[in-house]
Amino acid sequence: MMSWMNIELNLLILLPAFSAPIILILDRINEKLRKIFVILSASLSLYFVTALFFANFTDIKKGSFFLQYTFDYFGGPFIINFSMDNLSLFFSLLISMAVFLIIIYSTSYIKYNKAKYYALFFLVAASIQGSVLTADLFTMYLFIEGITVFTTPLISFKKTEKTTEAAMQYLYYGIIGGVFFFISIILIYFNLGTLKIAETALGFSEISGPMQLTIIIFFLLSLIIKLGIFPIHFWLPKAHSACPAPVSALLSGVLLKVYLYIFMRIFWTMISFDYLIELHISTFIMDLALVSSLLGHIFALQEDDFKKMLAYSSIGHIGMILAVLMLNNQAAFYGAMLHIAAHLMMKSGLFLSSGYLLRTAGSHHIDELEGIGHKNRITFGAFVIICLGTIGMPPLLGFVSKWYILLAFLKGKHFFAALVTVLGSLIALFYYLRYISKAYAEVSPELKSASWSADFAELLHFLKGDQLMSTIVYVFTLLIIFFGFSFQYFDMPVNTAIIELLNPQKYIDLVLGG
């Protein structure tokens, strides 16, 4: 075995993990140095993933891309294994991009306790990368726990009674979800004596039927809690609305996608999806996810809290993605993957713009938005565009992904699901319009921005002070518009990722083959 094999995979996890203590030290020395280091480390993380993508471009295109890294003594049976195939690469790229932009946004949004904030943020980033790259069940559990533990203090960052309550609830449900995950891992270890995902995949058929059902149900329970699907969703809006805007963007935009990735890894690569169909669980999950999707949108409609509304809308979208995954065919995966990318950009953009628009407001209540459309014309324009994307207006990325999801549902003759998708968009139109109309309410002239030319002149100082925040919002908006017109760029990574999902055998062979 080559010793220098794909050592860069380690780097993706270690770089943010290493940054956290260094940030704490640098903060003691010099604040400016710390700021530079934060930006440097975030951009290096992004650079490594993109470099991996471009260096292996031909392999990725052929679908033969596979990197892995093992810790072991030669021939020893216990291996902690990192592996990266096209599916992980797709998620890793998206996540690194979003985390980079959110960190840049944070540099001007977070005003106090900066060193602790960045240290925790980088630890979360390391855990996210780790849970995407790992090929070992226990290490995956460790990283999931890490995500829960590290995000909890970030949620209660403002230290008020409300945020502490939300954080405690998040912690309890996160830990309970983690325990369920752990029970499944223990059961697998006792039955098969291995923790490797690939070996579990090979040996899963040898486990007795009821035990298979138990393992599947515990994994499902854990992931349903983590994803915030209907019966256990109530912690999600509280947690996602209590934290500072960049953390909301991280939780809603990035973390939910990570749990979706883990869902795919477990139920397609490790436990073949046929078991779910055989046990009639897939239809049940699909119905649950659809109900969750509909309820999420309806709750968003009656919500007067700006950020809670966005969080409920996340429940709606995640439910829809989970439902379409349950169709288990190429068209469905295409729509789901595209919507994962779209929702990641849109929800991050929306939460970040909410942070910018309400940066001086005391609360997130709908009344605080009054007249804000006149005051921050361009940023609010960007916000409206992202909203339209979430609803599914034609030239934007949200439309493309929703269109493919709808097509997949219709092709599978799931008319109720198609109805939920369309209805969700319609309801979304209403609840976003409520806020937009409030923002354009008539206010006294001195509250309005002076003139359009002054607004555009401000754009020139795009890196200065508060303007940096709106610049990041513009970046997300431009990404949504750009990919809306040219979503073909997603074709290649998405299609190769789908091939990984449909052929788990390749992953198993490559991991076990060394």
């Binding site: 020893g76 630890l123 390391a126 780790g130 290490t139 590290f150």
Partner: protein
């Protein structure tokens, strides 16, 4: 009526769940050793590969060192989080501590506690113990100080900044040894061969003792910080 109904439903659901679990765990195969004989492998070749007499330490800091790194990073993150949530700028209000006799006695005992914790940490690869356990003993010194001498004493002796510095140094030691493993042995966190000496001596087992020291510093300082943050809170509420 309504409340009782809720309770009864909960109890019934729990009993049914219990029965279901019992039925299911009955199906669990008898413990027949682990699939590929992982434990056999460790017992056979653990000593020769790692040089550590304590096989549990060998598993923790060598075979699955990456998981231990993750675990201690979780402690690191938890400490940062607790400090972030609970920390206050003001100096804590000190209790006056216990009587003169207790203070004197503790003064005599303290060096021995410290010595014991250093022993547990540094002999982690030879005897039961290791970084996590020794670190907890180390943190106990700080905790006893706060109780016996009053919390301000501990604050003046070892400020939170100093504890955070200790913790960070511990974290960096672990990570640094991991990186050194890449450059010297080709694997992240691989045991450093050049440090290996005769088995059974204090400086044997490659990088394991040094990782132990890093973890000990980190756990000790971390627990002391957690305890300290909580004291501040209770004292503030009592006033």
């Amino acid at each position: 009526m309504h409340k009782n109904f809720k309770n009864i439903t909960a109890v019934v659901v729990f009993i049914l769940m219990g029965i279901a679990f019992y039925e299911n765990f009955q199906l669990m195969p008898a413990y027949k050793g682990l699939g590929e004989g992982v434990s056999d492998y460790i017992i056979r070749s653990g000593l020769s590969e790692t040089g550590s007499l304590n096989l549990i330490t060998a598993v923790l800091y060598d075979y699955r060192a990456f998981d231990s790194l993750g675990e201690s990073t979780v402690i690191f993150g938890a400490v940062s989080g607790i400090v972030l949530i609970l920390s206050r700028k003001m100096l804590p209000v000190s209790s006056r501590g216990l009587s003169f006799i207790v203070k004197r006695t503790l003064g005599i005992i303290t060096p021995f506690i410290a010595l014991f914790s250093i022993y547990v940490i540094t002999h982690g690869h030879l005897t039961p113990g290791g970084g996590f356990q020794g670190g907890v003993i180390f943190a106990a010194i700080s905790i006893i100080f706060s109780i016996v001498y009053g919390s301000a004493f501990d604050y003046r002796r070892y400020s939170p900044q100093m504890k955070t510095a200790f913790e960070t140094v511990g974290a960096l030691t672990f990570l640094g040894l991991g990186i050194a493993g890449i450059f010297m042995e080709g694997y992240f966190l691989h045991n450093l061969g050049f440090l290996t000496a005769e088995t059974g001596t204090l400086i044997s087992a490659g990088s394991i003792p040094y990782i132990n020291m890093g973890v000990g510093l980190k756990v000790g300082a971390g627990l002391a910080i957690i305890f300290y943050s909580m004291i501040q809170k209770t004292f503030k509420e009592e006033i």
